[in-house]
Protein backbone atom coordinates (compact mmCIF):
# COMPACT_ATOMS: atom_id res chain seq x y z
CA UNK A 1 0.00 0.00 0.00
CA UNK A 2 3.02 2.23 0.25
CA UNK A 3 2.64 3.52 -3.27
CA UNK A 4 -0.84 4.91 -2.66
CA UNK A 5 -1.50 8.52 -2.03
CA UNK A 6 -2.42 9.43 1.52
CA UNK A 7 -6.02 9.50 2.69
CA UNK A 8 -6.30 10.23 6.39
CA UNK A 9 -5.73 13.74 7.72
CA UNK A 10 -5.11 12.08 11.08
CA UNK A 11 -2.05 10.10 9.98
CA UNK A 12 0.82 12.56 9.89
CA UNK A 13 3.60 10.29 8.56
CA UNK A 14 4.63 11.53 5.12
CA UNK A 15 5.75 9.19 2.36
CA UNK A 16 9.29 10.21 3.22
CA UNK A 17 8.75 9.39 6.92
CA UNK A 18 7.37 6.02 5.99
CA UNK A 19 10.25 5.26 3.68
CA UNK A 20 12.70 6.18 6.43
CA UNK A 21 10.98 3.89 8.92
CA UNK A 22 10.87 1.01 6.44
CA UNK A 23 14.55 1.54 5.76
CA UNK A 24 15.33 1.61 9.48
CA UNK A 25 13.47 -1.66 9.94
CA UNK A 26 15.32 -3.29 7.07
CA UNK A 27 12.18 -4.61 5.43
CA UNK A 28 11.15 -4.29 1.83
CA UNK A 29 7.61 -3.07 2.46
CA UNK A 30 4.98 -2.69 5.14
CA UNK A 31 3.35 -5.89 3.93
CA UNK A 32 6.36 -7.77 5.26
CA UNK A 33 5.45 -6.60 8.76
CA UNK A 34 2.08 -8.30 8.41
CA UNK A 35 3.76 -11.58 7.51
CA UNK A 36 2.27 -13.43 10.50
CA UNK A 37 -1.23 -13.11 9.04
CA UNK A 38 -2.16 -16.24 7.05
CA UNK A 39 -1.55 -15.36 3.40
CA UNK A 40 -4.95 -16.50 2.17
CA UNK A 41 -6.63 -14.12 4.60
CA UNK A 42 -4.38 -11.08 4.09
CA UNK A 43 -5.81 -7.93 2.49
CA UNK A 44 -9.38 -9.13 2.03
CA UNK A 45 -11.76 -7.18 -0.14
CA UNK A 46 -13.28 -4.43 2.02
CA UNK A 47 -16.58 -3.09 0.73
CA UNK A 48 -16.54 0.42 2.17
CA UNK A 49 -16.97 3.86 0.69
CA UNK A 50 -14.17 5.93 -0.68
CA UNK A 51 -12.90 8.43 1.89
CA UNK A 52 -15.05 11.53 2.33
CA UNK A 53 -13.71 14.96 3.12
CA UNK A 54 -14.79 16.70 6.30
CA UNK A 55 -17.06 18.91 4.20
CA UNK A 56 -18.73 15.91 2.59
CA UNK A 57 -19.28 13.92 5.79
CA UNK A 58 -20.62 17.03 7.51
CA UNK A 59 -23.20 17.46 4.77
CA UNK A 60 -24.16 13.81 4.89
CA UNK A 61 -24.61 13.84 8.66
CA UNK A 62 -26.53 17.09 8.55
CA UNK A 63 -28.85 15.41 6.06
CA UNK A 64 -29.35 12.43 8.38
CA UNK A 65 -29.78 14.60 11.45
CA UNK A 66 -32.44 16.64 9.73
CA UNK A 67 -34.47 13.51 9.03
CA UNK A 68 -35.04 13.38 12.79
CA UNK A 69 -37.65 15.45 14.57
CA UNK A 70 -36.47 16.86 17.86
CA UNK A 71 -38.49 18.00 20.87
CA UNK A 72 -37.14 21.49 20.13
CA UNK A 73 -39.46 21.74 17.15
CA UNK A 74 -42.01 19.06 17.97
CA UNK A 75 -43.44 19.21 21.49
CA UNK A 76 -42.79 15.92 23.24
CA UNK A 77 -44.24 14.28 26.34
CA UNK A 78 -42.04 11.20 26.49
CA UNK A 79 -40.24 10.09 29.62
CA UNK A 80 -39.88 6.54 30.80
CA UNK A 81 -36.29 6.86 31.96
CA UNK A 82 -34.95 9.73 29.83
CA UNK A 83 -36.09 13.30 30.28
CA UNK A 84 -35.64 16.61 28.55
CA UNK A 85 -34.48 19.13 31.13
CA UNK A 86 -32.79 22.47 30.68
CA UNK A 87 -29.01 22.28 30.27
CA UNK A 88 -27.06 25.46 31.09
CA UNK A 89 -24.45 26.45 28.48
CA UNK A 90 -21.66 25.88 30.95
CA UNK A 91 -22.12 22.11 30.73
CA UNK A 92 -21.20 21.75 27.08
CA UNK A 93 -18.42 24.29 27.47
CA UNK A 94 -16.81 22.35 30.29
CA UNK A 95 -17.03 18.88 28.75
CA UNK A 96 -15.85 20.13 25.38
CA UNK A 97 -12.50 21.04 26.86
CA UNK A 98 -10.02 18.66 25.29
CA UNK A 99 -8.23 18.31 28.63
CA UNK A 100 -11.32 16.54 29.98
CA UNK A 101 -12.71 14.96 26.82
CA UNK A 102 -9.48 13.46 25.46
CA UNK A 103 -7.89 12.39 28.74
CA UNK A 104 -7.33 8.74 29.58
CA UNK A 105 -8.64 6.86 32.61
CA UNK A 106 -6.83 8.39 35.61
CA UNK A 107 -4.58 5.44 36.42
CA UNK A 108 -1.62 7.88 36.61
CA UNK A 109 -2.78 10.25 39.32
CA UNK A 110 0.03 12.80 38.91
CA UNK A 111 -1.22 13.68 35.42
CA UNK A 112 -4.93 13.15 36.07
CA UNK A 113 -5.72 15.34 39.05
CA UNK A 114 -8.32 17.20 36.99
CA UNK A 115 -10.33 14.09 36.21
CA UNK A 116 -9.79 12.65 39.70
CA UNK A 117 -10.85 15.76 41.60
CA UNK A 118 -13.86 16.12 39.30
CA UNK A 119 -14.90 12.53 40.08
CA UNK A 120 -14.46 13.23 43.79
CA UNK A 121 -16.82 16.16 43.34
CA UNK A 122 -19.18 13.87 41.43
CA UNK A 123 -19.20 11.28 44.20
CA UNK A 124 -19.77 14.01 46.80
CA UNK A 125 -22.60 15.72 44.93
CA UNK A 126 -24.35 12.42 44.24
CA UNK A 127 -24.09 11.43 47.92
CA UNK A 128 -25.50 14.80 48.97
CA UNK A 129 -28.39 14.48 46.55
CA UNK A 130 -29.24 10.91 47.67
CA UNK A 131 -28.35 11.34 51.36
CA UNK A 132 -26.26 8.21 51.07
CA UNK A 133 -22.83 7.47 52.56
CA UNK A 134 -20.76 6.78 49.47
CA UNK A 135 -20.97 6.80 45.69
CA UNK A 136 -18.82 5.33 42.96
CA UNK A 137 -17.65 7.25 39.91
CA UNK A 138 -20.54 6.05 37.74
CA UNK A 139 -21.99 3.10 35.85
CA UNK A 140 -23.02 2.88 32.18
CA UNK A 141 -26.63 3.94 32.72
CA UNK A 142 -29.54 3.68 35.12
CA UNK A 143 -30.56 0.22 33.93
CA UNK A 144 -27.14 -1.40 34.36
CA UNK A 145 -26.73 0.44 37.66
CA UNK A 146 -29.75 -1.32 39.14
CA UNK A 147 -28.69 -4.65 37.59
CA UNK A 148 -25.27 -4.33 39.22
CA UNK A 149 -26.95 -3.29 42.47
CA UNK A 150 -28.94 -6.54 42.44
CA UNK A 151 -25.73 -8.55 41.89
CA UNK A 152 -24.04 -6.63 44.69
CA UNK A 153 -26.93 -7.31 47.08
CA UNK A 154 -26.66 -11.04 46.35
CA UNK A 155 -22.92 -10.95 47.14
CA UNK A 156 -23.48 -9.06 50.38
CA UNK A 157 -26.30 -11.23 51.69
CA UNK A 158 -25.06 -14.47 50.14
CA UNK A 159 -28.64 -15.08 48.95
CA UNK A 160 -29.87 -15.73 45.44
CA UNK A 161 -33.39 -14.37 45.08
CA UNK A 162 -34.20 -10.89 43.84
CA UNK A 163 -37.62 -9.37 44.48
CA UNK A 164 -38.68 -6.81 41.90
CA UNK A 165 -41.57 -4.48 42.52
CA UNK A 166 -43.87 -4.82 39.51
CA UNK A 167 -43.88 -1.06 39.04
CA UNK A 168 -40.22 -1.08 37.97
CA UNK A 169 -39.52 0.04 34.41
CA UNK A 170 -39.94 -2.93 32.03
CA UNK A 171 -36.73 -2.04 30.17
CA UNK A 172 -34.86 -2.04 33.47
CA UNK A 173 -36.30 -5.47 34.23
CA UNK A 174 -35.02 -6.81 30.89
CA UNK A 175 -31.52 -5.47 31.54
CA UNK A 176 -31.60 -6.93 35.07
CA UNK A 177 -32.55 -10.32 33.58
CA UNK A 178 -29.65 -10.16 31.13
CA UNK A 179 -27.26 -9.55 34.01
CA UNK A 180 -28.50 -11.82 36.79
CA UNK A 181 -30.01 -14.92 35.22
CA UNK A 182 -26.76 -16.36 33.79
CA UNK A 183 -25.39 -16.39 37.34
CA UNK A 184 -28.24 -18.60 38.49
CA UNK A 185 -29.99 -15.85 40.44
CA UNK A 186 -33.80 -15.84 40.48
CA UNK A 187 -36.08 -12.85 39.99
CA UNK A 188 -39.63 -12.72 41.29
CA UNK A 189 -42.22 -10.04 41.00
CA UNK A 190 -43.92 -8.36 43.95
CA UNK A 191 -47.00 -6.15 43.98
CA UNK A 192 -46.70 -2.95 46.01
CA UNK A 193 -50.10 -3.59 47.61
CA UNK A 194 -48.94 -6.86 49.13
CA UNK A 195 -45.22 -7.03 49.73
CA UNK A 196 -44.11 -10.40 51.00
CA UNK A 197 -40.50 -11.51 50.86
CA UNK A 198 -39.07 -14.90 51.57
CA UNK A 199 -35.95 -15.53 53.64
CA UNK A 200 -33.84 -16.36 50.58
CA UNK A 201 -34.39 -12.87 49.19
CA UNK A 202 -31.23 -10.79 48.83
CA UNK A 203 -32.95 -7.54 47.97
CA UNK A 204 -36.04 -5.80 46.76
CA UNK A 205 -35.71 -3.47 43.79
CA UNK A 206 -37.94 -0.43 43.89
CA UNK A 207 -38.31 2.43 41.45
CA UNK A 208 -39.34 5.59 43.28
CA UNK A 209 -41.17 7.34 41.79
CA UNK A 210 -42.14 4.21 39.91
CA UNK A 211 -42.31 3.63 36.17
CA UNK A 212 -45.79 5.17 36.16
CA UNK A 213 -44.55 8.27 37.92
CA UNK A 214 -45.98 7.62 41.38
CA UNK A 215 -44.29 7.49 44.76
CA UNK A 216 -43.96 4.11 46.45
CA UNK A 217 -44.33 3.62 50.18
CA UNK A 218 -40.57 3.46 50.73
CA UNK A 219 -40.89 3.61 54.48
CA UNK A 220 -42.93 0.44 54.62
CA UNK A 221 -40.93 -1.35 51.91
CA UNK A 222 -37.72 -0.61 53.81
CA UNK A 223 -39.29 -2.09 56.94
CA UNK A 224 -40.38 -5.29 55.19
CA UNK A 225 -37.01 -5.65 53.47
CA UNK A 226 -35.00 -5.23 56.63
CA UNK A 227 -37.26 -7.54 58.64
CA UNK A 228 -36.37 -10.22 56.11
CA UNK A 229 -32.64 -9.44 56.11
CA UNK A 230 -32.94 -8.22 52.55
CA UNK A 231 -31.46 -5.03 51.19
CA UNK A 232 -33.54 -2.16 49.89
CA UNK A 233 -32.35 -1.10 46.43
CA UNK A 234 -33.93 2.02 44.96
CA UNK A 235 -33.83 3.68 41.56
CA UNK A 236 -34.80 7.34 41.56
CA UNK A 237 -35.18 10.24 39.18
CA UNK A 238 -32.46 12.61 40.41
CA UNK A 239 -34.46 15.76 39.64
CA UNK A 240 -37.23 14.40 41.92
CA UNK A 241 -34.72 14.69 44.76
CA UNK A 242 -34.73 18.47 44.40
CA UNK A 243 -38.16 18.48 45.99
CA UNK A 244 -38.86 15.11 47.60
CA UNK A 245 -37.17 13.09 50.32
CA UNK A 246 -34.04 11.19 49.37
CA UNK A 247 -33.76 7.38 49.46
CA UNK A 248 -31.13 7.64 52.20
CA UNK A 249 -33.76 9.08 54.47
CA UNK A 250 -35.80 5.88 54.16
CA UNK A 251 -32.86 3.60 54.87
CA UNK A 252 -32.05 2.47 51.33
CA UNK A 253 -29.01 0.19 51.34
CA UNK A 254 -28.13 0.78 47.71
CA UNK A 255 -29.59 3.73 45.82
CA UNK A 256 -29.07 4.14 42.09
CA UNK A 257 -30.38 6.41 39.35
CA UNK A 258 -30.18 7.32 35.73
CA UNK A 259 -28.03 10.45 35.76
CA UNK A 260 -29.19 11.74 32.37
CA UNK A 261 -31.62 14.35 33.71
CA UNK A 262 -28.67 16.14 35.34
CA UNK A 263 -27.36 18.04 32.34
CA UNK A 264 -26.93 15.22 29.82
CA UNK A 265 -28.41 15.51 26.31
CA UNK A 266 -31.04 12.91 25.35
CA UNK A 267 -28.86 11.75 22.46
CA UNK A 268 -31.25 8.94 21.50
CA UNK A 269 -30.50 6.98 24.65
CA UNK A 270 -26.82 7.47 25.38
CA UNK A 271 -24.19 8.05 26.49
CA UNK A 272 -25.68 8.55 29.95
CA UNK A 273 -24.30 7.74 33.39
CA UNK A 274 -25.64 5.47 36.10
CA UNK A 275 -25.46 6.96 39.58
CA UNK A 276 -24.57 4.38 42.21
CA UNK A 277 -24.56 4.92 45.98
CA UNK A 278 -24.64 2.69 49.04
CA UNK A 279 -24.06 2.47 52.76
CA UNK A 280 -20.40 2.72 53.67
CA UNK A 281 -20.27 -0.81 55.08
CA UNK A 282 -20.75 -2.18 51.59
CA UNK A 283 -17.94 -0.29 49.91
CA UNK A 284 -15.86 -3.39 49.20
CA UNK A 285 -18.70 -5.03 47.33
CA UNK A 286 -19.31 -1.99 45.17
CA UNK A 287 -18.72 -2.30 41.42
CA UNK A 288 -16.98 0.39 39.42
CA UNK A 289 -14.24 2.91 40.02
CA UNK A 290 -13.91 4.91 43.22
CA UNK A 291 -11.77 8.01 43.78
CA UNK A 292 -10.35 8.82 47.19
CA UNK A 293 -8.50 11.76 48.68
CA UNK A 294 -4.99 11.30 50.01
CA UNK A 295 -1.70 13.17 50.24
CA UNK A 296 1.45 13.26 48.14
CA UNK A 297 5.09 13.00 49.19
CA UNK A 298 5.06 16.71 50.00
CA UNK A 299 1.95 16.30 52.18
CA UNK A 300 -0.24 18.16 49.71
CA UNK A 301 -3.78 16.90 49.16
CA UNK A 302 -4.49 14.99 45.99
CA UNK A 303 -6.71 12.26 44.60
CA UNK A 304 -6.24 8.67 43.42
CA UNK A 305 -8.31 5.74 42.22
CA UNK A 306 -8.71 3.64 45.32
CA UNK A 307 -10.00 0.26 46.54
CA UNK A 308 -8.95 -1.03 43.13
CA UNK A 309 -8.61 -4.60 44.38
CA UNK A 310 -12.37 -4.93 43.79
CA UNK A 311 -11.88 -4.42 40.08
CA UNK A 312 -11.34 -6.67 37.09
CA UNK A 313 -7.79 -5.57 36.31
CA UNK A 314 -6.67 -6.96 39.67
CA UNK A 315 -9.18 -9.53 40.86
CA UNK A 316 -10.01 -10.82 37.34
CA UNK A 317 -12.70 -13.56 37.52
CA UNK A 318 -13.37 -12.76 41.19
CA UNK A 319 -13.93 -9.03 40.59
CA UNK A 320 -17.10 -7.32 41.77
CA UNK A 321 -17.91 -6.57 38.11
CA UNK A 322 -16.28 -6.62 34.68
CA UNK A 323 -16.92 -2.88 34.29
CA UNK A 324 -13.91 -0.75 33.39
CA UNK A 325 -15.69 2.43 32.41
CA UNK A 326 -17.08 5.17 34.60
CA UNK A 327 -18.67 7.39 31.95
CA UNK A 328 -16.29 9.99 33.42
CA UNK A 329 -17.04 12.70 30.87
CA UNK A 330 -20.77 12.39 31.51
CA UNK A 331 -19.96 12.53 35.23
CA UNK A 332 -18.11 15.77 34.49
CA UNK A 333 -21.27 17.10 32.86
CA UNK A 334 -23.21 16.19 36.00
CA UNK A 335 -20.69 18.10 38.14
CA UNK A 336 -20.94 21.16 35.90
CA UNK A 337 -24.75 20.89 35.96
CA UNK A 338 -25.23 20.50 39.70
CA UNK A 339 -22.38 22.93 40.35
CA UNK A 340 -24.00 25.71 38.36
CA UNK A 341 -27.65 24.88 39.15
CA UNK A 342 -26.79 24.65 42.81
CA UNK A 343 -29.19 24.03 45.66
CA UNK A 344 -31.60 26.72 44.51
CA UNK A 345 -31.56 25.72 40.85
CA UNK A 346 -32.15 22.01 41.43
CA UNK A 347 -35.05 22.78 43.73
CA UNK A 348 -36.45 25.27 41.24
CA UNK A 349 -36.30 22.79 38.34
CA UNK A 350 -38.02 20.15 40.46
CA UNK A 351 -40.79 22.50 41.50
CA UNK A 352 -41.39 23.87 38.00
CA UNK A 353 -41.53 20.33 36.72
CA UNK A 354 -43.96 19.33 39.45
CA UNK A 355 -46.35 22.22 38.87
CA UNK A 356 -46.35 21.84 35.10
CA UNK A 357 -46.93 18.10 35.30
CA UNK A 358 -49.79 18.61 37.73
CA UNK A 359 -51.25 21.35 35.60
CA UNK A 360 -51.23 18.97 32.64
CA UNK A 361 -52.78 16.13 34.63
CA UNK A 362 -55.53 18.32 36.02
CA UNK A 363 -56.39 19.67 32.57
CA UNK A 364 -56.40 16.22 30.99
CA UNK A 365 -58.50 14.72 33.76
CA UNK A 366 -61.14 17.31 33.02
CA UNK A 367 -61.56 16.14 29.43
CA UNK A 368 -64.62 13.92 29.20
CA UNK A 369 -63.62 10.30 28.71
CA UNK A 370 -60.14 10.68 30.19
CA UNK A 371 -59.28 9.73 33.74
CA UNK A 372 -56.30 9.20 36.03
CA UNK A 373 -56.48 5.55 37.08
CA UNK A 374 -53.91 5.80 39.87
CA UNK A 375 -54.27 7.68 43.13
CA UNK A 376 -51.32 8.79 45.18
CA UNK A 377 -48.60 11.33 44.64
CA UNK A 378 -46.71 11.67 41.39
CA UNK A 379 -43.85 13.93 40.37
CA UNK A 380 -43.48 14.53 36.65
CA UNK A 381 -45.05 11.49 35.02
CA UNK A 382 -48.57 10.15 35.31
CA UNK A 383 -50.80 7.63 33.61
CA UNK A 384 -53.92 8.69 31.78
CA UNK A 385 -56.66 6.22 30.89
CA UNK A 386 -57.73 7.21 27.41
CA UNK A 387 -61.11 6.61 25.83
CA UNK A 388 -59.38 5.08 22.80
CA UNK A 389 -56.24 3.06 22.30
CA UNK A 390 -53.15 5.10 23.20
CA UNK A 391 -51.52 3.98 19.96
CA UNK A 392 -54.29 5.61 17.94
CA UNK A 393 -54.17 8.72 20.05
CA UNK A 394 -50.38 8.95 19.68
CA UNK A 395 -50.62 8.69 15.88
CA UNK A 396 -53.22 11.41 15.86
CA UNK A 397 -51.02 13.62 18.01
CA UNK A 398 -48.06 12.92 15.72
CA UNK A 399 -50.10 13.84 12.64
CA UNK A 400 -50.71 17.13 14.39
CA UNK A 401 -47.07 17.80 15.13
CA UNK A 402 -46.82 16.60 18.68
CA UNK A 403 -45.14 13.55 20.23
CA UNK A 404 -47.44 12.06 22.86
CA UNK A 405 -46.67 9.72 25.72
CA UNK A 406 -45.64 6.11 26.20
CA UNK A 407 -48.27 3.49 25.42
CA UNK A 408 -48.60 1.35 28.55
CA UNK A 409 -51.86 -0.32 27.51
CA UNK A 410 -50.22 -3.72 27.95
CA UNK A 411 -50.26 -3.01 31.67
CA UNK A 412 -52.97 -0.43 32.22
CA UNK A 413 -56.10 -0.55 30.10
CA UNK A 414 -55.82 2.22 27.49
CA UNK A 415 -53.02 3.66 29.60
CA UNK A 416 -50.83 6.46 28.32
CA UNK A 417 -47.80 7.53 30.35
CA UNK A 418 -47.20 11.27 30.02
CA UNK A 419 -44.08 13.10 31.17
CA UNK A 420 -43.87 16.84 31.64
CA UNK A 421 -40.77 18.82 32.57
CA UNK A 422 -39.90 22.48 32.96
CA UNK A 423 -39.09 22.47 29.23
CA UNK A 424 -42.72 21.98 28.25
CA UNK A 425 -44.38 25.38 27.95
CA UNK A 426 -47.96 26.07 28.95
CA UNK A 427 -48.67 26.51 25.26
CA UNK A 428 -47.41 22.98 24.54
CA UNK A 429 -49.43 21.50 27.38
CA UNK A 430 -52.55 23.32 26.29
CA UNK A 431 -52.00 22.10 22.73
CA UNK A 432 -51.72 18.51 24.02
CA UNK A 433 -54.92 18.90 26.01
CA UNK A 434 -56.70 20.44 23.02
CA UNK A 435 -55.69 17.62 20.68
CA UNK A 436 -56.60 14.93 23.21
CA UNK A 437 -60.00 16.53 23.62
CA UNK A 438 -60.75 16.88 19.95
CA UNK A 439 -59.52 13.50 18.75
CA UNK A 440 -62.12 12.57 16.09
CA UNK A 441 -62.30 8.86 16.97
CA UNK A 442 -63.01 9.62 20.58
CA UNK A 443 -66.72 10.18 20.10
CA UNK A 444 -67.22 6.79 18.41
CA UNK A 445 -65.38 5.01 21.13
CA UNK A 446 -67.43 6.55 23.86
CA UNK A 447 -70.65 5.13 22.46
Amino acid sequence: MTSETRHSPYVPNTDADRDQIIKCLGVSSTDELFGDIPKQHYLPNLKLNEPLSELEITKELQRLSMLNYTPDTMPCFLGGGAYRHFIPSIVKHVISRGEFATAYTPYQPEVSQGTLQTIYEFQSLVCQLFEMDIANSGMYDGATAIAEAALMACRITNKDRIAVLNTLSPVYVSVIRTYVEPQGLKIYSVDPSDIKLDQETACILVQHPNFYGYLEDLKNIAKVAHENDALLVTSTDPIFLGMFNAPGKYGADIAVAEGQPLGVPLSYGGPYVGLFTCKSDFVRQMPGRIVGKTTDTKQREGYVLTLQTREQHIRRERATSNICTSEALIGTAVVAYIGSMGRVGIKHVAEMTYHKAHYASSMISKIPGYSLPFGGTFFKEFVVRCPISPAKLNSYLLENGLIGGIDVSDRVENGLLIAVTEMNTKEEIDRLVYLMAEHPARGNNLL
Binding site: R284, Q308, T309, I314, R315, R318
Partner: protein
Amino acid sequence: MYPNDRKYSKEHEWAKQDINESLLIGITDYAQEHLGDIVYLDLPNVGSMLSKMQKLGEIESVKSVSDIFSPVSGEVIEINNIALDSPELVNSDPHNNGWLVRIIVSNASEFDELLTADEYQSFLDSLGS
Protein backbone atom coordinates in the same frame (compact mmCIF):
# COMPACT_ATOMS: atom_id res chain seq x y z
CA MET B 1 16.44 -14.72 61.40
CA TYR B 2 13.05 -16.42 61.54
CA PRO B 3 12.11 -17.09 65.18
CA ASN B 4 12.39 -20.66 66.43
CA ASP B 5 9.36 -20.42 68.67
CA ARG B 6 6.97 -21.37 65.88
CA LYS B 7 6.56 -23.29 62.64
CA TYR B 8 6.09 -22.22 59.04
CA SER B 9 4.31 -23.22 55.84
CA LYS B 10 5.48 -23.01 52.25
CA GLU B 11 2.59 -20.61 51.70
CA HIS B 12 4.44 -18.18 53.99
CA GLU B 13 2.24 -18.47 57.05
CA TRP B 14 3.52 -19.06 60.55
CA ALA B 15 1.79 -20.89 63.44
CA LYS B 16 2.78 -20.44 67.05
CA GLN B 17 1.58 -22.34 70.11
CA ASP B 18 -0.07 -20.00 72.56
CA ILE B 19 -2.19 -20.06 75.68
CA ASN B 20 -4.83 -22.75 76.28
CA GLU B 21 -3.56 -24.97 73.48
CA SER B 22 -4.43 -22.43 70.83
CA LEU B 23 -2.34 -21.57 67.81
CA LEU B 24 -1.74 -18.05 66.56
CA ILE B 25 -1.52 -17.78 62.78
CA GLY B 26 0.11 -14.99 60.82
CA ILE B 27 2.07 -14.31 57.67
CA THR B 28 5.84 -14.23 57.53
CA ASP B 29 8.08 -11.23 57.11
CA TYR B 30 8.93 -12.54 53.65
CA ALA B 31 5.24 -12.50 52.72
CA GLN B 32 4.57 -8.99 53.99
CA GLU B 33 7.67 -7.71 52.20
CA HIS B 34 6.45 -9.15 48.92
CA LEU B 35 2.90 -7.88 49.33
CA GLY B 36 3.94 -4.31 49.91
CA ASP B 37 1.68 -1.88 51.73
CA ILE B 38 -1.15 -3.95 53.18
CA VAL B 39 -4.41 -2.02 53.15
CA TYR B 40 -7.11 -4.53 54.02
CA LEU B 41 -7.60 -7.90 55.68
CA ASP B 42 -10.52 -10.20 55.11
CA LEU B 43 -10.58 -12.72 57.97
CA PRO B 44 -13.02 -15.53 58.77
CA ASN B 45 -15.75 -15.27 61.39
CA VAL B 46 -15.05 -16.55 64.86
CA GLY B 47 -16.40 -20.09 65.02
CA SER B 48 -15.46 -20.98 61.45
CA MET B 49 -14.06 -24.45 60.96
CA LEU B 50 -11.06 -24.56 58.67
CA SER B 51 -9.30 -27.53 57.20
CA LYS B 52 -5.60 -27.53 56.40
CA MET B 53 -4.84 -25.54 53.23
CA GLN B 54 -8.36 -24.16 53.11
CA LYS B 55 -8.60 -20.47 52.25
CA LEU B 56 -8.52 -18.61 55.53
CA GLY B 57 -8.91 -15.12 54.21
CA GLU B 58 -7.51 -12.48 51.91
CA ILE B 59 -4.84 -9.85 52.23
CA GLU B 60 -5.06 -6.81 50.01
CA SER B 61 -2.27 -4.47 49.14
CA VAL B 62 -2.89 -1.43 46.98
CA LYS B 63 -2.84 -3.38 43.74
CA SER B 64 -2.98 -7.05 44.64
CA VAL B 65 -5.15 -9.55 46.44
CA SER B 66 -3.60 -12.65 47.98
CA ASP B 67 -5.28 -15.64 49.53
CA ILE B 68 -4.12 -16.80 52.95
CA PHE B 69 -4.35 -20.54 53.57
CA SER B 70 -4.78 -22.15 56.92
CA PRO B 71 -1.61 -24.14 57.73
CA VAL B 72 -3.59 -26.46 60.02
CA SER B 73 -7.15 -27.66 60.57
CA GLY B 74 -9.15 -26.22 63.41
CA GLU B 75 -11.72 -23.78 64.71
CA VAL B 76 -11.20 -20.03 64.63
CA ILE B 77 -11.71 -18.72 68.18
CA GLU B 78 -10.40 -15.19 67.80
CA ILE B 79 -9.41 -12.80 65.08
CA ASN B 80 -7.03 -9.87 65.46
CA ASN B 81 -9.37 -6.90 65.45
CA ILE B 82 -6.53 -4.46 65.93
CA ALA B 83 -4.92 -5.64 62.72
CA LEU B 84 -8.29 -5.46 60.96
CA ASP B 85 -8.50 -1.79 61.84
CA SER B 86 -4.81 -1.11 61.21
CA PRO B 87 -3.65 -3.55 58.54
CA GLU B 88 -0.30 -1.76 58.36
CA LEU B 89 0.48 -3.66 61.57
CA VAL B 90 0.95 -6.77 59.43
CA ASN B 91 3.70 -4.90 57.59
CA SER B 92 5.38 -3.45 60.61
CA ASP B 93 5.14 -6.39 63.00
CA PRO B 94 4.12 -9.52 61.11
CA HIS B 95 5.44 -12.01 63.65
CA ASN B 96 3.91 -10.52 66.80
CA ASN B 97 1.21 -7.86 66.95
CA GLY B 98 0.34 -8.45 63.30
CA TRP B 99 -1.00 -11.99 63.90
CA LEU B 100 -4.23 -12.79 62.07
CA VAL B 101 -6.29 -15.52 63.74
CA ARG B 102 -6.25 -17.77 66.79
CA ILE B 103 -7.19 -21.38 66.13
CA ILE B 104 -7.89 -24.46 68.25
CA VAL B 105 -6.19 -27.23 66.30
CA SER B 106 -8.21 -30.33 65.56
CA ASN B 107 -5.24 -32.45 64.46
CA ALA B 108 -2.00 -31.83 66.35
CA SER B 109 0.12 -33.80 63.90
CA GLU B 110 -0.52 -31.16 61.25
CA PHE B 111 1.37 -28.64 63.35
CA ASP B 112 4.30 -31.02 63.73
CA GLU B 113 4.49 -31.46 59.98
CA LEU B 114 5.10 -27.75 59.37
CA LEU B 115 8.57 -26.40 58.65
CA THR B 116 11.00 -25.33 61.34
CA ALA B 117 12.56 -21.88 61.12
CA ASP B 118 15.69 -23.36 59.56
CA GLU B 119 13.72 -25.38 57.06
CA TYR B 120 11.67 -22.34 56.12
CA GLN B 121 14.83 -20.28 55.66
CA SER B 122 16.26 -22.96 53.39
CA PHE B 123 13.00 -22.99 51.47
CA LEU B 124 13.27 -19.21 50.99
CA ASP B 125 16.86 -19.59 49.88
CA SER B 126 15.73 -22.11 47.30
CA LEU B 127 13.31 -19.53 45.91
CA GLY B 128 16.33 -17.45 45.01
CA SER B 129 15.53 -14.49 47.14
